[in-house]
Symmetry: C2
Subunit: 216 residues, 2 copies
């Protein structure tokens, strides 16, 4: 889409863009986002960090947001290969979620995404995040489909991805292997290893006068 070269035709005459400069700008953007947040990522600073000029930015992207989006996209395309299907749903989910958490937690990419994750006003950023989200959904569907857990599949996916997003981006806390284990167990409706058998109706069981529930 964004790429100028459609394979065919001759090279445009004139000095070609230096790939080194492009890469340095993408890198500077990702690292600055991760280390200092979106606010600190001014065009001048990104250019300086990449040891180039503002003009080099605007020759490649129409605006700052597009550069930021491109840096996220590049980093997303660099992350580790997909989790292999092993045939067991619980195992597949554990593996996929572990990989996902590993890619988003305590990595420049993860911090960068966190720093822009609510700037949905910027279509460029919204699009990148949407693409990544769609890919994760698709992956999880492939794990669930044609298994006995297909019922409420979309809700199960929302619960799992929501957990990761919530803990990492809202609560600013790490997602531990135990968290993943517990979530997978609950979402698959397996009897939790350490919890007693569930009791659908624990009686009106019984609320001693407790303080009113705060809201929201």
């Amino acid at each position: 889409m964004t790429g100028p070269s459609l394979s065919s035709q001759s090279a445009p005459s004139g000095r070609p863009q230096a790939e080194r400069v492009t890469a340095a700008l993408l890198d500077a953007a990702l690292l600055t986002l991760a280390e200092e947040g979106f606010e600190a990522a001014t065009v001048a600073r990104l250019a300086a960090r990449a040891r180039t000029s503002k003009q080099a930015v605007y020759r490649r992207w129409p605006d700052k947001t597009s550069l930021v989006a491109a840096s996220l996209r590049a980093a997303l395309n660099r992350v580790s290969p997909p989790a292999p299907r092993r045939g067991n749903v619980a195992q597949d989910l554990r593996l996929y979620l572990s990989n996902l958490v590993e890619a988003l937690q305590d990595t420049p990419l993860g911090r960068a995404i966190k720093s822009v994750s609510a700037l949905k006003n910027q279509p460029q950023l919204a699009a990148v995040l949407q693409e990544a989200e769609d890919a994760r959904r698709l992956a999880l569907r492939q794990i669930f489909i044609a298994t006995s857990f297909e019922a409420d599949m979309e809700t199960r996916i929302d619960l799992l991805l929501g957990l990761v997003y919530f803990k990492l981006h809202v609560r600013d806390q790490p997602v531990s292997p135990d968290d993943i284990e517990a979530a997978v167990h609950l979402v698959l409706g397996l009897t939790a290893p350490k919890s007693p058998a569930v009791n659908p109706h624990p009686g009106t069981g019984n609320t001693p006068d407790r303080a009113p529930v705060p809201f929201p």
Copy 2:
């Protein structure tokens, strides 16, 4: 904390601040945030919308972010009363989550929160969102505590709040009563009403050669 009046002492001499102006500014901030996003909420525009001046803003708050945080706090303190405890966990959760979704979905408060939900760099904003989050957690703990669902309570809470947050703020989709129903059933480990009995190990069941799982 922020309030100047600590009950005691005499009133400061001189003309008092007009409550009407303060309210108009808080209102203008919330509505502008909701309707046009954080980017569009310039101090000049907020002041104009409140039919007052920039100076009126800076007499009340040290900076723009503090005004925005105050407007969110005020709106959060205005929302409907807590969901009453009814003694049945599933019922309590449904009710609490319905109220939460109603307060955050298709309301100015909800849209305003969405527009600032990733500006964690601003301590003022992070604090308000954190307070709201803590209150919700506390409420859900009061529903779970002393029931047979206490095991993995924190993960169950993360799953439920994560689902709401994820659908509303990440996927930009509404949370329907059916969504809540399905989530509560899954998180409580109840047999889903429309799904067949869960099968903990659906065999290696069986992955026909499918495309590799995309990631992340």
